[in-house]
C-alpha cells in the first residue's frame, strides 16, 4: 500500500527535478526559502504580504538563478508576451517631456509612498544612461543614449521599446528590468510618454 503511493511520488519528484525548477544540490528547497521570507515579515499587513508570494516567472528565475534552460525561457517569453496590452489607436508615442520626468522619478509603491503623493516613476536613470547631459545614471542596464537615433527612429524599434517597458521578459526571460506594465506600476499612457522620451527625434536622449 505504502509502496504504491510512494512510486508515483518518486516519479513526480524525478520529473520536477528534471524541469527548470530543478533544485541544485545542497540548496534549500524553495518551500524552505518561502517560509524564511514569510516569517521575516510577520508584522506586515496582509495586503503587503502578497508581495512576498512569487509568480511562475519569479519562481523559474529564482530556481535557475536567472539562467533558465531553453524550454523554460520559451515558456516565460510566451507567458509574459501574452500580458502586453496595446493602445487601441495603435499610437505608441506620447509626450517626451512627461516621459523625461518619469524616467527621472523613482517614486512609487515603497511603504513610505502611501498615500500616494505623486504618480509612480519609471526610474530609468537608476539603471540606464539616457540624456548624455544627465551625469547621474546607473549601469545595471545598457546605455540608452541616442537609442532612437541609432535605430533611425524606425517603427519596429518603437514597438520594441514599448514592449520592453511593458514587459521586458517577453524578450529577455529572467532579465533584471522590472515588468512595469504587467505589474501595473506604470500606466499605458505613462509608458507611451517614456517611449517618446527614448524614441522621438526631439527628445534630448537623441541629441
Amino acid at each position: 500500500m505504502h509502496r504504491l503511493i510512494l512510486i508515483p511520488c518518486l516519479l513526480a519528484v524525478a520529473v520536477s527535478a528534471g524541469s527548470a525548477l530543478a533544485q541544485k544540490k545542497g540548496r534549500p528547497s524553495p518551500q524552505a526559502v518561502d517560509k524564511l521570507v514569510e516569517d521575516g515579515f510577520k508584522t506586515a499587513a496582509p495586503d503587503w504580504k502578497v508581495r512576498l508570494v512569487q509568480d511562475e516567472t519569479q519562481k523559474a528565475c529564482t530556481a535557475s538563478r536567472n539562467e533558465p534552460a531553453e524550454a523554460g525561457a520559451a515558456a516565460i517569453r510566451r507567458r509574459e508576451k501574452a500580458t502586453i496590452k496595446y493602445p487601441e489607436d495603435g499610437n505608441l508615442l506620447g509626450d517626451w517631456k512627461k516621459g523625461e520626468a518619469l524616467a527621472q522619478s523613482g517614486y512609487g509603491w515603497r511603504y513610505t509612498d502611501y498615500p500616494p503623493r505623486q504618480a509612480n516613476g519609471g526610474n530609468c536613470y537608476a539603471c540606464h544612461q539616457l540624456d548624455k547631459k544627465e551625469l547621474s545614471y546607473g549601469t545595471l542596464g545598457p546605455s540608452l543614449a541616442e537609442y532612437g537615433k541609432i535605430r533611425k527612429f524606425a517603427e519596429p524599434a518603437v514597438k520594441f521599446v514599448y514592449e520592453h517597458i511593458y514587459n521586458p521578459q517577453a524578450s529577455q526571460p529572467c532579465g533584471n528590468m522590472p515588468r512595469f506594465g504587467t505589474s501595473g506600476f506604470l500606466t499605458m499612457d505613462q509608458i507611451k510618454d517614456i517611449v517618446a522620451y527614448v524614441m522621438s527625434p526631439d527628445s534630448p536622449v537623441n541629441k
Binding site: 526559502v33 515579515f41 515603497r110
Partner: protein
C-alpha cells in the same frame, strides 16, 4: 569633555557639505574621490569618526544597570562566554544553545536586554533604528559598541553547527529570490561587479574581495542620515527599495542574510563604525 565631539562635529559638517551638493550635477568619480579623501582622514585620525560617539554611548548603556531587573548587559553572552565583548562580533552570527537559534549581534543584544534586564521585547522593538536626522537609538549605540570591540579582527563566523550551515544556505538562497512588484532579488542590484544605481556603487557580494571590503564597515555612520546605521537597518533599507514591507528587525531572514554576507566576507577586517555616504 574632550576634543572628540568637536572634531566629530566638524567632520560631519564637512562631509555634509560634500554630500549635499546636487548629486545630479556631480560627477560620480568626484563623489567617490571626496569620500575616499575623508576615509583617509579617518585613517589618519581615527578619533574624528562620529560613529565612535555612538560606540561610547553604547558602552555606557552596556555597563549601566537598567530595566525592570536593574541589571547591566555585562553578563551578556555574545558567543564567547558571559561578559566577553572583545572579538565577539567577528564570530557572529552563530548558533546559541540557550535560544536554539542562529543570532547576529543585534538579535543577541535584544535577547540579552529581554532576559538580563527584563525589558519587554515589544518595547525594545518599538523603534529599533532611527530615521534620518533623528537621535540614534539605544540598539544602534549598543550594536556599534559591540562591533567596535572587534575593530581590527577578521570575520570568522562559525559554520560547525547544523543550524549555522542551514542559516548560511538559506541566506544565500534568499539573496537570489526574486519577488515583489519590481521582480527584484538582492542579486539584481548586487549580482555583478562594477555596477551602480544612479551614482551609488553596488558591491558584488558573490565576490569575496568586494564583500570583505564593505561588510566589516557596518554599523556605519551615514553622512546622508546623520546617524549610525546597523546591518539590520541596511538590509531593511534594501527591502524598502525592493518595494517589500518593512522587514522584521532581528528576524531569521535578516540574520540568515547576514550569515551569508559575513561568510562571503570571511577573513575581511572589521572596521566598524565606518563612514558611508
Amino acid at each position: 569633555m574632550s576634543l572628540k565631539p568637536i572634531l566629530a562635529t566638524l567632520l560631519v559638517a564637512l562631509l555634509a557639505a560634500v554630500v549635499s551638493l546636487p548629486a545630479r550635477a556631480q560627477d560620480d568619480a568626484t563623489t567617490e574621490r571626496e569620500l575616499e579623501r575623508y576615509r583617509q582622514m579617518l585613517k589618519d585620525d581615527p578619533w574624528s569618526n562620529p560613529g565612535l560617539l555612538d560606540a561610547d554611548k553604547g558602552e555606557a548603556l552596556w555597563k549601566e544597570k537598567r530595566g525592570p531587573k536593574s541589571a547591566s548587559l555585562e553578563g551578556c553572552d555574545l558567543g564567547k562566554g558571559p561578559g566577553v565583548v572583545d572579538g565577539a562580533f567577528a564570530e557572529l552570527p552563530r548558533y546559541f544553545k540557550d535560544t536554539d537559534r542562529v543570532m547576529d549581534a543585534e538579535t543577541r543584544i535584544v535577547w540579552c536586554m529581554e532576559t538580563l534586564q527584563g525589558f519587554p521585547r515589544a518595547e525594545i522593538l518599538k523603534r529599533p533604528v532611527s530615521k534620518a536626522n533623528q537621535q540614534g537609538t539605544e540598539l544602534e549605540a549598543l550594536a556599534t559598541f559591540v562591533a567596535s570591540k572587534s575593530r581590527g579582527a577578521k570575520f570568522n563566523a562559525p559554520v560547525a553547527h547544523a543550524k549555522e550551515r542551514e542559516a548560511l544556505a538559506l541566506g544565500e538562497a534568499a539573496f537570489y529570490r526574486r519577488q515583489g512588484p519590481m521582480d527584484f532579488s538582492c542579486a539584481t542590484c548586487h549580482g555583478d561587479a562594477g555596477r551602480r544605481i544612479r551614482l551609488q556603487p553596488l558591491p558584488y557580494f558573490a565576490k569575496p574581495e568586494e564583500a570583505k571590503k564593505v561588510v566589516g564597515e557596518w554599523p556605519a555612520y551615514r553622512v546622508s542620515q546623520g546617524t549610525v546605521m546597523t546591518m539590520q537597518h541596511r538590509l531593511a533599507d534594501c527591502f524598502w527599495q525592493m518595494r517589500l514591507p518593512l522587514v522584521d528587525y532581528a528576524s531569521d531572514l535578516t540574520v540568515a542574510l547576514t550569515s551569508y554576507l559575513v561568510s562571503q566576507a570571511k577573513g575581511g577586517e572589521i572596521t566598524a563604525p565606518s563612514i558611508k555616504r
